[in-house]
Assembly symmetry: C3
Homo-oligomer: 306 residues x 3
């Protein structure tokens, strides 16, 4: 199996063997975060972010640096000056002459796919529209594997805004490659898109519910996402729902002892800070697993590891 | 001939031998774009851009990275906070303590010259006012030499806005160092500045015209620039002229088979996208030649190559 | 004495031996500014700037590059998108997974202290609120030591806005570790905070005055800071005071021959440009001493040097 030159556009382009390979390579990357590796010596990554996402940008930048490569970046604040009426295709055709791999964040769902078809160098989708965030899904899996020893057999609850949150879309597909049980926990108006529920239900057991409290005692992983005010025309409704879906150390009293709480960050108050001091919190460590997962993907698509 | 410590302010500071030397060194740089060179190990380039020009910034950043050096940058969005009433001279005197070479883009014509007189380290002009863009001119020459085998003997048409476009000003001077024929093709209101036409006419044959169609069959290089809406008080006039100067695969039907189309980018629609799929298009490859030309200049002014 | 893992939050956390150790290590760093050192190979510094301070940012970026490490940055223009309601503690907990050292600039006095308590990796305060700027104080000391051969025995005048200028606060404490005489020279309304005067007076001789002219003949170092228009409700008062505190080559006629003028930069016109050409000017060279002082601090807190 060679990933050299491969684009990372959608988690759905990967079968289980391939995902497992990424996670295995991620494991090899862990000691390299100490610095000094030259695996990607002289390689240049180009970030181009049409939406702000500083965390994801920094994660990729740190990943290439830890492997001895380097980066150039077009942050969202400069995109307008790049583009000046230029289409995405032209921008990509220029960037591929300056860089060995392109990391793209875009507000349109099809942008990463289009870029990958144009570019000779590999394109990594760092989030496109409401649809996909494949590297986030892989790092979520890696966190589960490393913290719980296995992914097969896990019960995972995705909690919060399942309609607009792209991380949960990619993650649902990713988990469906394993022998898992998925709890989809959201307010009525923010339920997972029907097509995704259908696709995933073909592979694994899916339970949809609006009651987070009922679910907590049954799951190994609580994956919490932010519920955004902007989604609610009625502010009273928003406040009520926000309160119900807020996870605190109190909410977790009936949880399994080894339950882990994940979150794509930034959190606001959907996970209260007292959870940080419980043995369940893994959302900060998750960012470190994200670093090594992205190191793995860079090594693979640039051909430094088979 | 040593370029060590030399400033790159104006193409007019270079004689033909020197330009040829830059192009020869650029050729040596091509294999180094694969990464891993340490020719500029530990050297730091500082970008300071008083105008947005993300493509040029990225090109220099990638160039220094590919040679094992690195960069620090003040993008246009941060210039105001640097400056805070500080004059350019002070800014340069600080930057030269942090960096081994300074790359400056400024909206005033004399800025790069002033900076070069102040700085102990070499200053590279990445575009100043309406006047100069010497590294662009060198990369344009390099593209011609690499794609057509020679510059002597070429007929080159500069098309579009020849009045305000700084790339065409520098390029006209650069081409006048070689045995070339220049066609200056523009609307009446956007003709090349008289002084440049006079200077260049002393060296090479210059033909001025408003008719792009008549010129195409005669030339080896079509160098197209953008005609900006803002230059026209009358929008109808703008639309008409834009239409006349637009290059499409249709326009190119009478072209020589090995004619190449260049463009400093970004293009909007002055070269239509169907041209991309003809054998004439070289404007994207030109950005790669730009990378190696800038690698050459950095090696030269930093003394890594004689 | 080991600095490994140590935070640099306040100059007041350091005793004289420790400050001297930093200055001694800075001396070792000087030849390394030529480039090529691998002392911090693979180490990643993260800047996070809640206030613009491009000079300080570039200084730290250049420092880590010169030692073979690298950086990721959140400039002030992107901070809002990082934060999105996230608290500083969460941001730090993410960054410490991407970087080996965090450099923080914040508009609140307690921010750097808070960050240092949260982070496992060392935190360096690059200016917090009106209070502290410890690395600036160390580089000021280093400049004095290198330019005048010693710090003990010096008479130093701090001139200008002593109330709001954080650099002079940290510097006053730093100088009080040595056998120095401090002249605090400011308009009535911009006098040094009483608590700092009291603290420092316990250690060294402090003379407070509003008359800069009287002080100049007596001092070895004139440390000038900017007086900001915004501090004065009455513009006429501002203009008058500005005129009185402006240092020119004329003002310096009665100075000792080896007096040095320092300034944290940017200057506007509180030091006129004719001073640049006198033997007293050291404010630009000071930025180079700043580079090596920050290289020293990075080596120390990352454990590359004991």
């Amino acid at each position: 199996m060679s990933f050299k030159g491969r684009d990372i556009v959608s988690i759905r382009d990967f079968n289980r063997d391939e995902v497992e390979h990424v996670l295995n390579v991620a494991r090899l990357m862990e000691p390299l975060t100490m610095g000094g590796s030259k695996m990607l010596d002289g390689k240049v990554l180009s970030n181009i972010f049409f939406e702000p996402s500083t965390r994801t940008r920094l994660s990729f930048e740190s990943a290439i640096l830890k492997l001895g490569g380097n980066y150039i970046s077009i942050p969202e604040s400069q995109v307008s000056s790049v583009v000046k009426g230029e289409n995405l295709v032209d921008t990509i055709r220029v960037l591929e002459n300056y860089a060995d791999v392109i990391v793209l964040r875009h507000f349109l769902e099809g942008a990463a796919r289009l870029a990958s078809e144009v570019a000779v160098v590999p394109v990594i989708n760092a989030g496109s529209g409401g649809g996909e965030h494949p590297t986030q899904a892989m790092l979520d899996l890696y966190t589960m594997e490393r913290e719980l020893g296995t992914i097969d057999g896990l019960s995972v609850a995705l909690v919060g805004d399942l309609k607009y949150g792209r991380t949960v879309h990619s993650l649902a597909y990713a988990l469906s490659l394993y022998d898992t049980t998925l709890y989809l926990v959201s307010p009525k108006t923010l339920e997972m898109r029907r097509e995704i529920v259908n696709d995933v239900s073909n592979e694994v057991t899916v339970v949809e519910t609006n009651e987070v409290g009922d679910v907590i005692p049954n799951v190994d992983v609580l994956y919490v996402t932010r519920i955004q005010k902007e989604r609610f025309p009625d502010q009273e409704e928003y406040e009520k729902i926000k309160g119900v879906y807020r996870i605190s150390s109190n909410t977790l009293q009936n949880a399994k002892s080894n339950l882990i709480v994940l979150h794509p960050l930034p959190r606001v108050d959907e996970v209260t800070s007292d959870v940080d001091y419980t043995p369940h919190a893994r959302y900060f460590k998750e960012t470190w697993y994200g670093l090594v997962t992205r190191m793995a993907l860079l090594c693979l698509v640039l051909g430094a590891i088979e």
